[in-house]
Each structure stands twice: as structure tokens, then as C-alpha cells.
Amino acid sequence: MIKRILVMSCALALPLAALADQPTVQVKPPELQGSRPLEKQTEAAVIRDYLQSWKSLRSAFDLNQPELLSPDFVGTAREKLAATIDQQAKLGIHTRYQDRTHDLQIVFYSPEGLSIQMIDNVGYDEQVLDHDKILATKRIETRYVVVLTPSDVRWSVRIFQAAAK
């Protein structure tokens, strides 16, 4: 009974929390392998665009709308995430992600300037729902390897992969 109350509380509380809660972001100084220097403006733009991509991911997975992934995700990352959202929709489930903490560090800026790799030790809540019924809720701490590539006006996530901690 207590568990059911807690689950219901969470079901009500999570959407509000998603609106109210902004993730805590820590950025470590870049530890670059690569010959290309990273300008402060580039670093700031990459981090800004990456954090924005989590917002898109949250909306896309909650609403089962893969089109919300653009333009934050491109290439393989977009294809994989969009395929998962389609699978969710067919199964009648949706997922709420709420990123709580990001501990970011840029580790590679390719010499030709066409990719930036970042490690993100991220903490997030994942809640899987069958329509409105909560199937599971879990807090996950994991390490993401992220590769972003430049498009016309922004950096877009091209590789987005949780790696073993």
C-alpha cells in the first residue's frame, strides 16, 4: 500500500519536477587529445547545444515524437533514438527522462574541426509508463560518450552512447 502511494506520488510529482528541475551542471577543464586548440566560445557553444539536446530527448521520449530530436541529434544518434521512440509507440509505452546532474569534460577536438568528443558523467531519472501507468522508475548514474559535429548554426549530437562506468 505504501509502495502504491509512493508510486502515485511520483507519477504526479515527476512531470512537475521535470518543469521545475534544472540539472546541476559541472564542467571540468578540457583534457584534450588532439592538436586543435579549443576556443572558449566553441566550448560554451558545444556545452549549451549538448544540454539542449537532453531537453529534446526528454520531450521526444515522453511524447513519442521522434521529430522533436531535430536538429539537436543527427546521423546515427538521431536514427537510433528515433527508432527507439517508434518502438515505444508501437508497444504503447513512453519514457520520462529527467537529467539531474551533468559532469562534463571535452576530451577530443579533431584536428580538422569536424568533431568534438565529450564525456558526461550523468545522473538521471528514468520512468517507463504504459499509457499513464508507471511500470518502473529508476535513478541511473552512468557515463556517456558523446560526439558532436558542427552544422550550419550549431553543434549537433552525432554519437550518444552510455558507456560502462
Binding site: L14, P111, L135
Partner: protein
């Protein structure tokens, strides 16, 4: 605070369950099974950012996932729904260890000869399912010129990527830039082109009342012929007047017929490189 406590409580609940047991680790694309305990029918969900799968299960039996069923690396939740009760647990799917494709970023596709560190290559290593293989692997990067000379570096990947820089050769021509790992390779062609013209010189001779001006074969400072189509500008100055003409190099030289004015000065340039100047009618 309350939400956090609630989440913590809910998250702990599945951990106490004993109705399903997950493998300690799963490799992308490999077969695995999830045994269950108890009786009756239930539904098993495998949900992550990489895939979402549903299976009807008979409690007390193992649910089989054949090779290729779960292939995207990342964190997953396994959720067992048995009537009103659910239990869940997380597990990780790691990339397959065998490289299958390479993302090879080579730049530039064209550059002048003799540039130290002018060619760069970055290699991302992926498995069959396009998961980035983050375990360290040795990647060989080779730049082979048409003349047969080769530069070769072996670099170990870090977080799935390796990179290097190479020098462009002194002699023009295409070079093959190859990234290779465990039988998988990716090739790019780097076009090494001549640099600016060097020692640009012209000569002139009379031609039916005009003067034919032509360059000596145009080369860069390494002796590579400047490609046809490169523009050479001829300028003739006489009596406060001037004639100019932009001529493309054809078959190694640039040639033009200009008005023949005794005492005229004729000069040559290509881009920002100036050549010699001659005086028509008065010798060089």
C-alpha cells in the same frame, strides 16, 4: 526531497525481487536469456534509449533473446509486469568487441606540397551495429604517395577515437590515406598540388606586327609543374597606357600576343607572385 525519497524507495523495490535474474553483462548483438521464477503469464519489457522490446513470458521459464535482438549499446531497464505487480532492474549492453566500420575524417582533400602536419586524420571505431567501441584498440594510419614513399603511424584509440597528422610530400600527386584496424580499412585520397609559381620568367619575340610573350615552363619552388588553367597576368606599359591580359597556362606555359610598342615594359605575375620584366625593342 520528498520526490527523491519516493524515487529511492521505488528504485529499491525491484532490487528486492527475485522473479527474474539478469545477466551481469550483455554484449551488443549477442544472444542472452532472462530466467524468471514463479508461475503464470507476464510481460517483459527491455527499455532504453537504444531500443524498446516487449516479450510475453511464461513465469518460471527463461526468456530467450536471440543474437541480433538487442544490439544498441547503453543502459537498459528490464521490467517484468505480472498482473498488478511489476519489478525492474537495470543492466548495461556493451559494444561488440570486433570493429566493423570506421568513421574516418581526413582533411584536407587537397593541399599544397611540402606542408608539415598539413594532413590530419581522425578515426572513430564502430562495431557491426554502429556502436562506438570505447575499449582501447590499435589503429594504423598510413599515407602512401604515388612515388611509393609512405608515412605510417599506429595509434591506440581513446574513448573510441584515434588521430594523427601527416606531412604532404614534396612531389605533387594523389596520396592514399588509409586507416586500418583488425582487417577493416577505410581509404581517403589526398590531392597534393603544386604550390605558388617560383622564378616566373618571360621572353618575347616579334610576331606579325605584334609581340608574342610567353613564360618559361612554370614550376613551383619544388620543381612541380604548375597545373594548366592557372592564371598568369601579363602587363604591358607604354606611353602612359597599359594593356593587361589574364592568360591560363596551357601545356605548362602561358602565351599571349600583345601590341608591339618600342620601349614598352612587359611584366608577368601569377596571383601574388611577380616575375621578371622585359623592355620591348630595347632588349631585356
Amino acid at each position: 526531497m520528498l520526490i527523491g525519497l519516493a524515487l529511492a524507495a521505488v528504485s529499491m523495490a525491484p532490487a528486492q525481487s527475485v522473479h527474474m535474474s539478469l545477466p551481469p553483462s550483455v554484449t551488443a548483438g549477442s544472444a542472452f536469456s532472462i530466467p524468471t521464477a514463479g508461475s503464470g503469464k507476464a510481460v517483459l519489457y527491455i527499455v532504453g534509449q537504444g531500443q524498446a522490446i516487449r516479450r510475453d513470458v511464461q513465469m518460471g521459464e527463461a526468456t530467450m533473446f536471440p543474437a541480433g535482438a538487442l544490439y544498441n549499446a547503453g543502459e537498459y531497464l528490464a521490467i517484468l509486469v505480472n498482473g498488478a505487480s511489476t519489478e525492474s532492474a537495470g543492466f548495461y549492453v556493451s559494444p561488440a568487441p570486433q570493429p566493423e566500420t570506421l568513421g574516418f575524417l581526413a582533411k584536407p582533400s587537397r593541399l599544397p606540397v611540402g606542408i608539415r602536419g598539413g594532413i590530419s586524420g581522425a578515426v572513430y571505431v564502430f562495431d557491426t551495429y554502429h556502436n562506438l567501441i570505447t575499449t582501447p584498440l590499435p589503429v594504423s594510419l598510413e599515407l602512401a604517395n604515388a612515388s611509393g614513399t609512405m608515412q605510417s603511424h599506429t595509434i591506440t584509440t581513446r574513448n573510441g577515437v584515434a588521430w594523427t597528422t601527416m606531412d604532404s610530400a614534396a612531389k605533387e600527386g594523389p596520396a592514399k590515406f588509409v586507416a586500418r584496424i583488425a582487417g577493416v580499412s577505410s581509404t581517403r585520397v589526398i590531392d597534393q598540388v603544386p604550390g605558388d609559381p617560383c622564378g616566373l620568367t618571360i621572353t618575347a619575340r616579334p610576331n606579325n606586327g605584334k609581340v608574342t610573350v610567353q613564360t618559361a615552363p612554370v614550376h613551383d619552388c619544388s620543381g612541380n609543374p604548375i597545373p594548366d588553367g592557372t592564371i598568369v597576368t601579363f602587363t604591358e606599359t607604354y606611353n602612359d597606357q597599359q594593356s593587361t591580359v589574364d592568360v591560363p597556362i596551357k601545356q605548362g606555359i602561358a602565351r599571349v600576343d600583345m601590341p608591339a610598342y618600342p620601349g614598352a615594359k612587359i611584366s608577368v605575375a601569377s596571383g601574388v607572385v611577380a616575375g621578371n620584366e622585359i623592355r620591348w625593342g630595347g632588349g631585356k
